[in-house]
Point group: C2
Chain length 191, copies 2
Amino acid sequence: MPYPSQVDIETLIDTARTLIEQSGVEQLTLQRLADEFGIKAPSLYKHVKNKTTLLQAVNTRTGALLVNTIQESLESASDDPIQRLLTMGRTYRDFALQYPATYSLLYGTLNPELRLDPQIAEALALPLQVEMMAIVGEANALAALRGAWALIHGFVMLELSQQFQRGGSLETVFEQALLAYLRGWLTPHAP
Amino acid sequence: MPYPSQVDIETLIDTARTLIEQSGVEQLTLQRLADEFGIKAPSLYKHVKNKTTLLQAVNTRTGALLVNTIQESLESASDDPIQRLLTMGRTYRDFALQYPATYSLLYGTLNPELRLDPQIAEALALPLQVEMMAIVGEANALAALRGAWALIHGFVMLELSQQFQRGGSLETVFEQALLAYLRGWLTPHAP
DNA sequence: CTTTCAAAGCTAATCGTATTAGCTTTTGGC
DNA sequence: GCCAAAAGCTAATACGATTAGCTTTGAAAG
């Protein structure tokens, strides 16, 4: 191997994530990123194709982290599907609140280039789907899953963009809403 | 009045919205916008402070449009609060699907500068709140409202960013989910 | 030990975009 | 006809992404 690399690709992505969380995506410039490694901006091109693929990688990393975090949270959770779903919801929300900038980068843009890797999306949906199946049955699982994801994601996005102006414990509201949603699927309804 | 203006501020904002819908926000450049009016980019600064305030104005316009659209849809709606809520949800979703780029600009960024004018947010929440009050009562109205908004907004954002990979009628799923959510609030539950 | 060569850096340059400064043109009201 | 201010324009600056082409380093081959 020639010339000892100052840059490890994993570290590069993590550093990018950190910078994004510190000052927002708009503030992430290749110059600033390069500074963190004591190199010049153009040298970064030896490690990534361009800024877009870097952000893609950041999204993949964030998604993988989220999947792991949720899986871990389930290990210590009860057996009750509803409790497990609540746990996932709480963990999801906590994650988004902990990494607001990278979380919203995950879904905030319509740019197809930044779209979350379908495989990660799949892995994200899976545990949710398992419990949904147990709660509402196979026929409704996909629909119920999508709605739950929408509720959770939407809540978190509105919370992050400070759209819940009128105060109150958002944590409580979040659980109330999620529980109401699940209750709704358990209540008799037309097919 | 001096020098016949080529630019009317309302038209400017609408043109910006159109360009954003046509090619995405990233593609909206002051140069391209100026071209639409047959003037040079720097001349735009006679009409707007900078690009950020322009985008702010775009958001305000989009928000106002959304509020109007929802209000109009309610005029021909039934008296049943649940039906009215469903109508609002459908209208909201249709609006977002019709103006995907500007809709996601509304909430897609964490940038406080682009945050939706609280007054518009208020006007948006009001009709939803009225029906919620009728459905779940005053004590729960705020929580139920927030959850409904989260569900609707989240669904639309996931749909726009193509996260619902597995097909099926999203329109149906959307209504199922919203109905389930409302049903949940109507079902007995702990305070 | 020397040579070789590819990876990883660097500098210089290009291009696109936002924004500012300062000049010019137009025209309603005098 | 004159003039002030609005609306345009050109030129210039700054910054960020990206490319081209040169240089350095160090492991491995001889």
